[in-house]
Symmetry: C2
Subunit: 197 residues, 2 copies
């Protein structure tokens, strides 16, 4: 395009920095906002600026918050003897929505991925060991994903935590609720057999 569409081109380029957005999607988004939703464009502009300026990490659990320590960590109704380790705030939010857990969290903000250059330091293993060793935590529940990287992360964290004498558990593996056995993958059935109770 020409010089008279500089700010449109800049917008398309900036939208491409969003994960999963290629040049076609970015064009479609820019076109939609400019043609049908300029209020939305201004709203998103302000929301991005505000969030980038105010959102930081909780000093205790590393999740996103605008305060020094997040509301969950400060909640006196939560059980401080249990600590659930998750990869992301989205995972934390999924565990919260189950309403089956009232302990505290530690959010890794990532997972071990040597191939991508993500090592123990990047996911704050040292902070986790410090946090879990505060004398109050009695059980650390590893709730990382059941992918190769999530399992590796759980293994490495489990070793380090057990070496400090902490009681470490892992989310149960098994057949998902509502599944017909015929359509469940064999690895999952094998695990469900081994862990039967």
């Amino acid at each position: 395009m020409a010089a008279d569409t500089h700010s449109l081109d800049s917008l398309v380029q900036a939208l491409r920095r969003l994960p999963g957005v290629g040049v076609k999607s970015a064009q479609r988004m820019a076109f939609h906002l400019l043609q049908h939703d300029r209020d939305g464009a201004e709203l998103l502009s302000r929301a991005l600026h505000d969030a980038a300026a105010t959102v930081r990490h909780c000093a205790r659990c590393h999740t996103f918050t605008e305060a020094e320590v997040c509301a969950t960590c400060l909640d006196p109704r939560r059980d401080p003897t249990r600590l659930c380790v998750v990869e992301t705030p989205a995972d934390q939010s999924a565990v919260e929505r189950t309403a089956a857990y009232d302990g505290l969290y530690f959010v890794l903000m990532g997972r071990l991925s040597p191939l991508d250059g993500v090592g123990p330091k990047d996911i704050g293993v040292h902070s986790l060991l410090e946090r879990a060793g505060d004398g109050t935590v009695q059980e650390v529940i590893l709730a990382t994903s059941f992918t190769a990287e999530g399992e590796t992360t759980a293994h490495v964290l489990g070793e380090a935590l057990r070496a400090r004498g902490l009681h470490v558990t892992r989310l149960a593996r098994g057949v998902p609720a509502g599944s017909e056995l015929e359509y469940v993958d064999l690895g999952t059935i094998a695990h469900a057999l081994v862990d039967r109770r």
Copy 2:
């Protein structure tokens, strides 16, 4: 989420106004920007604000521009006797990239879609008739999509333009370049047979 994540929640809500972005994608985008690309968040914030403030429509062809009249309409090297009618700036850009057209454009910024309440007024039929009837334009090339709505749009515009004595053509329909006939849909083959030359 709690009160201490207000600006994060607002960001997720604002991202959902982008076309094709649901709550999961919005969370992933917000997480990515805040965790890995705060510069990108600020850049996108400014780009959105700038574009919403400066981008408007060309007075002659209706495409996006920051000037009164766009660079293409002002380009003296372009053939002013031919006018290509497209639905969107993205379609215009696709025609430009072929380097097979050196005339001018008229961008409808939409297509007729009675079911969605988009009538002739919304796509600027009146402006198009005025633009095409400037005495210089000799041929109007209808390059709307070959979808039901695009075809309807082309039909309605064609009727109106012909009634004013203008020479109207439509993009050729046929087998796409690089296609094996076996895998081309029958409607396309039928059109290619009828329009054979």
